[in-house]
Symmetry: C2
Subunit: 258 residues, 2 copies
Amino acid sequence: MIGIFDSGVGGLTVAKEMRRQLPDCPLIYFGDTARTPYGNKSQAVIERYSAENTDFLLKQGATAIVIGCNTASALAADYLKKKYPGTPIFEVISPAVRQAVALTKNKKIGIIGTRGTIGSGIYAKKIKELDPAIEVFSVACPLLVALAEENYLDRPETKMIVRRYLSGLRSKGIDTLILGCTHYPLLKDIISAKIGKRVRLVDSAEEVVKELKVESYKVIKSAEKNKFYFSDLTPQVREITKRWLGGEVELVEVPSEN
Amino acid sequence: MIGIFDSGVGGLTVAKEMRRQLPDCPLIYFGDTARTPYGNKSQAVIERYSAENTDFLLKQGATAIVIGCNTASALAADYLKKKYPGTPIFEVISPAVRQAVALTKNKKIGIIGTRGTIGSGIYAKKIKELDPAIEVFSVACPLLVALAEENYLDRPETKMIVRRYLSGLRSKGIDTLILGCTHYPLLKDIISAKIGKRVRLVDSAEEVVKELKVESYKVIKSAEKNKFYFSDLTPQVREITKRWLGGEVELVEVPSEN
């Protein structure tokens, strides 16, 4: 069983991709909505929260962990891999990096993400490891998570804010842009319009699930039902989960530190 | 010594008012930036966090507590007053309510705040207790906290979002508007422009400190230095504290649950 955790609802885009690409593989989701967002928090805090979330998913029967959050992938993946050596830990950054490096022709890649993800410099580091000739341009877009969660998906204010964030990147001539936050696929249309239709977008949620498929998690078949746990199950979380995943899903509330 | 806690940086507007109105009274601040924001969280979670924050401030020598956060004031003040019967607990809602009821002439008051504060209905309830004839109109403005923290104070996007949030209130003919979130004083100019200059704004940070003065905390004189604790002292928190409070303040990091 695959366990996915995220700081809140953003990782639901990974859960959605799993249901699309691996419909037979049971999944269990933990969204740490009591302590969301992680985007502006420090590495020490995010490591501690990520380990608590992993403990919870393992206790619920997960056999592999997907960090469905770019911030936690950037700041806590190495820590978790060391702490849980027997458990496969997937993060959303490396698969997106491999895809972007494969796609770029002019060797200019852009990254957008939270302040935590961008500040970590991890995307640039991983890209340079694969191809040191690639130029990387990063921009933190801290307001986009709130706008996505408030369903400001097609509003003029959102378009203005996205344009403002991307204006620096536009002048760099990138041909590939990594959506380095699992909330951003919800804003894909606006981002594509503002960066230019010729720039290819790489969606980290989509890419990590492709990797799970390669790792042959597709062979797992089970009648087990998917479960979605949240550390704070507010009406807004219920509403977002319904809006983003569609249809009926089982929602359960549990405290953060379990 | 006065202890102020908030979910993060919003309560700094209360600290700022204290330094303006009660410059001789030492204060100690705790911002729970590791778990911020509280605005979309549930009552049970906010009660637990507020008690932990209060314990920390008492341990540091606070003799009175100011809940410098409207969400925690709305959802956890009663709980804290019961849990700490020997400690004066001030919240930011009642003083603002008294001021708004005193100011309104046409008996139409508007309230803006986070989803948690507005959903609690506490402002309407407290206003009706003082004067059942007053009509109350409330609007949740969940994006304004993020915009204030990102320093989007004078941007056209912020103006559009504020106008959108206030458009319903404008048609109600209110003459008084309570800024029911300690972040909102930073957006006072935009809010005033969009709701109309004739509508009087009531700032909950300003009002709670007036109440502290009445309670004669002004007589306390001490050479003790103010201290600002945060559960996650990121560069952004340092930057916001400097920008909002100005000058030099002592910043210390401590874990949330201490």
